[in-house]
Symmetry: C2
Subunit: 669 residues, 2 copies
């Protein structure tokens, strides 16, 4: 295989790369981080790089001096004149000769910041998996007719009262070596007081489980100490299925229209989950004592072997694809899932690299479009234990809604698109250092102040803060500020001629607001919020509002006591901004709660308290699914809901509330 | 890859074979059956072939004209001058040029004859796996919140009272397609009233299970109609582990002394079992209606998919190796097995190609050397339900003994070697056409009469019967006849100078008896019984006798009411001959029963009646294991037991009995 010399600047990484690899593959091979939100699907345009040396221009291609593949139509859509010369998408351009590449600051991926540690859950510790110490008398010729496994069973019965246990046969494979290696002291891991899933030599204390939340766009794993219930490490990745479709429906279509489509996407997500596992355990394996039993000859242990339990939540389509179930029938009327109940599946049956004898507990799903992730929210927030009428909004690529109280809880789902997650936003980026996360705009001067991840203080004009983009969770607040400052009107349209050069026409001729000037950034270009960004957010919030409104109509209620905002990102939604934008029907601001990743909280609860699993199965069946997309009122409601509320009418108390919270607001209209 | 032209005569098969393949591999590739008892271990010498054309002599090798690899030391041990020129072992000689080979009659493998159909078992039909027909109402938008699986569960509960069922998740993968393919009629297969392991479109009647008996030397599978309990097909193979050791101890040693030894032997037996499965279902797949569900895209079904349940018996070493359990500790004091209880293991976890969601039920083992096969014998013969004191001898490569009645049953094991199975016997062969199975020798003339498999009548000197060798199960009878005719004495030594040319010195200078002259055979050489053959049998029967005698001593009994002879071959042991040889302590001949493959019967019973599985677990623990090899009296008893009994003393009633049975006997000494 022919190889070419490739150099990445400013990192200075260099190496020999195989003919035909993309620049992104080369960067990965050489340890250079390039941003790529879309997973090489050529849609996000975030992986722009500048070619410094090497021939890539049209002329050179024609003369045969081709060091990169020709520029594609897909690239042309993303590369703008203002990007300057020599720009290519790293995910697309293929290497056919020696080349030197510069990675602009904006395209450099930082490590994603999980800004809030997983919150502390107040729940009784009673995990499904427990460890027991056993100490046996070595066998002699006088008791030779008792097998090693039978000795272990006898001890567990005598000392712990465990009866009727079974054992995964693969545990038996190493049992004899382990008992002898530990001098007849061993630690036995038991699942649900039913089945032995591990035996380790000596007395082992630490026990780990992994709670997993697989979103359409983002996947996160919470490594949990099953002895304390605390999260000891968190890792997240982009869902590796993104290249096969950005939303649920396009992935279902991909599965139906490609012979191996389902298998390809299943392998992608399982491989991604295995990446999370490898990274999430790397520290405990490095620092802590190895809790691995001495493997038998020829049986290597993966790092994830320390994990003995896993709970997982996802939407229905991700659920089906993850399990290799045909998603066809959930994609078309009458939207029947293959299975709703929770499932316990051996890790090895799914090629998930934790203890192969461990079970993956898949939480139940509610209905076609209301998945196990919403069941996670349900058991975390427990509306069925409350008197107040609550609306719970779980915002991911899909918005899932729960509404009700102890008498009745209903659910529905609405397509919001990925705007709330920062995708399809011009300067959207992950919650990494350099991302603008909070903005305040002076209603008089229209000048912004903002906070950047990685900097303690608000940006002032005195200091260069190296802003790089907007993080997903900040976008709601920014648009709310634009509205409050009168920069956009209630239809979402930019108001021009405000006497500020912050509002201007972009290169596409459409209005935009400059949040940070080029010299405040590390990317050397103005960071703006565009008309298209505002529109994407309006569509998303309109869908949520319509969903909630129609649910209230169907439930026959006119008033919500409480609104819970749950987001999949671990970061929190700005509840004031969500009120300003009208993301949901009226509710007193002090009764609006942002709870972070409630779906993930549900998965964590099911991990550390097994009765939550039974509760999930029962309540998932009890919740009533409401179909709102087919409601004839949907379209009309949706058109209205796109507007940003006329605050005086919709939220008569908003001005007071916002002032109380420290903002200065000019109510217009 | 270079190929050479290879021709096999007299079959006339020809083809292009890759450089370096052995003649045996070439024969297999071209569909030519060559005998190979030892599984290419180069020990049995049964695969001799004659090179007709092509250069293989030393001279030609040195001149570079090498069409076969040089003759090895292993081959030289087997090739005798009387074999004539040009003889090679097919398992050893490698092809390096064009070649033409003649396969002598003696080396041609016939299809093994299972001479007795599996006997009818009188047991209530109550299999662990049952099929249920379901008929669902197609879902509509009005009941869209019920999953397909939940619909099936509801039907099974309403119509059959089945509650608390779980489902193998791989069944869910095809569930939706299958329900729709069958027009919402389907057949659900349920294991132990607990778990759904298959769903098929439409109403399916036939249901199959496989009972498997894995012996050290031979493996057999009984395909059983679970609707009737009848065996519909039987297939057997040599145990493919033979190349790694002919007996249990040498295989344990192989596992301990080779890094991948355990894995290699496990793969070999599982691959062999998959061969049995493929062959045993070939007819029902050909003739019967396909009971396969329409596979999903890209998921091919193996033929064995029609099998939904499997029971399996084997000795403890075969049990451990089959499951990938380290056999080290059962091979050394205090001989502790990893596990004794029965196990239910998913077929896919062992790569066994039946329904991958089906369970393999592994019967329990008793103690280190008394395995699941003996538990099979135990539940088939049920000594624990009887008043009479019974001795049950299960003869395979190991001899396993059960002794007792309803008050107490003891077990032990003794190493008999493979003589009873026909291995290590000079003209030993499988029970295939041409094998001499029964012999009578005239005590006066010393002339034999014999019966050959595939011929209805006894051989007379008028007719050419094409004898080819001695089958394993016939060897006991032949040695008994040699003794009764005075051709060997009670020490097993040949008596020379009897005035018959049938008794002579063989080419090795040791005595032998000519059973068939070359012109009566199809192999063109005299078929003889040698001094070494007699010695091998004496060792085997001595081990059995000693085991039984020491058990009686330990149990404090002096008399047996009944002796049951169980053999692993499906063929039956000659009970008269076994009395003559003194294989077991004295017992009236009318109380000696030959029951065929009782271990296999036990596996079949556990397959068609699930309460036999519970019974096996209970009784395996109840039986008391006696260690006799460490008994100080063992060696002395064994030396005595090697002798062939002085019949007048040991069996005072034998002459009458034998005469009653039609033999004419001259009692000597």
């Amino acid at each position: 295989m022919k190889k070419h010399r490739v150099i990445f600047q400013p990192a200075g990484r260099r190496g020999e790369i195989e003919e035909g690899k993309t620049l992104l593959e080369a960067a990965q091979a050489l340890g250079v981080d390039i941003e790529g939100l879309c997973g090489s699907k050529k849609v996000c345009g975030k992986c722009k790089v500048r070619i410094e040396e090497g021939y890539f221009e049209k002329d050179n291609i024609e003369s045969g001096m081709k060091h990169l593949s020709p520029i594609t139509e897909a690239e042309k859509k993303h590369i703008k004149p203002e990007d300057g010369p020599g720009i290519r998408l790293a995910c697309t351009a293929e290497i056919h000769g020696d080349i030197k590449i510069f990675v602009p600051e904006r395209s450099r991926a930082g490590k994603q910041v999980v800004r809030k540690a997983a919150k502390e859950l107040s729940i009784k510790l009673d995990p499904a998996v427990k460890k027991y110490n056993v100490e046996l008398t070595p066998p002699t010729l006088h008791d030779m007719t008792v097998g090693d496994y039978e000795r272990v069973l006898q001890f567990l019965q005598d000392d712990y009262g465990l009866t009727g246990l079974s054992c995964d046969f693969i545990v038996l494979r190493d049992l004899q070596n382990i008992l002898r290696a530990g001098g007849w002291k061993a630690t036995v891991t038991v699942w649900m007081d039913q089945e032995i899933i591990k035996v380790e030599p000596g007395f082992v204390e630490m026990s780990y489980g992994l709670a997993v939340d697989i979103g359409t766009t983002t996947c996160v794993g919470y490594l949990t100490d099953l002895g304390t219930g605390n999260v000891v490490n968190t890792e997240s990745i982009m869902n590796p299925q993104v290249p096969y479709g950005e939303d649920v429906m396009s992935r279902i279509t991909y599965a139906m229209s490609n012979p191996d489509g389902l298998e390809i996407m299943q392998k992608a997500i399982i491989s991604g989950l295995n990446d999370i596992i490898e990274r999430v355990v790397s520290e405990i394996i490095k620092d802590g004592p190895p809790t691995h039993p001495s493997p038998s000859r020829g049986r290597a242990r993966e790092g994830g072997f320390v994990i003995d339990d896993m709970t997982i939540v996802f939407n229905t389509a991700m659920h089906h694809i993850f399990l290799g179930l045909n998603p066809e029938y959930i994609g078309r009327s009458p939207f029947i899932p293959a299975v709703q109940k929770s499932l316990d599946i051996k890790a090895r049956d799914l090629s998930i690299k934790i203890n192969p004898a461990a079970y993956i507990h898949v939480l139940p799903i509610e209905a076609g479009f209301v998945g196990a992730d919403n069941v996670g929210v349900l058991i975390a927030e427990e509306p069925y234990k409350q008197d107040e009428m609550v609306l719970i909004i779980d915002i991911g690529t899909n918005g899932e809604l729960l509404m009700g109280n102890r008498n009745k809880v209903c659910s529905t789902s609405c397509a919001t698109g990925p705007a709330f997650e920062g995708a399809q936003i011009k300067f959207g980026m992950r919650a990494a250092p350099g991302a603008i996360e909070t903005v305040l705009i002076d209603p008089v001067t229209k000048e912004p102040r903002y906070k950047v991840i990685g900097k303690a203080d608000w940006h002032t004009h005195m200091e260069k803060v190296n802003a790089k983009g907007l993080c997903g969770s900040g976008i709601i607040g920014i648009v709310a500020e634009l509205f409050k400052a009168g920069i956009i009107d209630k239809s979402g349209r930019f108001v021009m001629d405000l006497g500020t050069r912050r509002v201007r026409k972009g290169v596409d001729g459409k209005p935009e607001y400059v949040l940070a000037w080029a010299d405040e950034t590390s990317i050397g270009t103005d960071i703006t919020v565009t008309q298209a960004d505002v529109r994407a957010l309006q569509l998303a919030k309109g869908a949520l509002y319509t969903g909630a409104k129609l649910m209230m109509k169907k439930l026959g209620i006119t008033k919500l006591d409480r609104v819970v905002l749950a987001g999949a990102f671990g970061s929190h939604i700005d509840k004031e901004a969500s009120l300003t934008l009208g993301m949901f029907p009226d509710c007193p601001i002090e009764k609006v709660y942002a709870v972070g990743n409630a779906a993930g909280d549900g998965a964590r609860m099911a991990l550390i308290n097994k009765s939550k699993r039974t509760e999930a199965d029962e309540k998932a069946r009890w919740v009533e699914f409401l179909e709102i997309a087919t409601d004839p009122a949907f379209e009309r409601e949706f058109m209205q809901a796109m507007h940003i509320p006329h605050m005086k009418d919709l939220f008569p108390n908003l001005k007071t509330m916002l002032e109380k919270s420290g903002s200065k607001v000019e109510i217009k209209g």
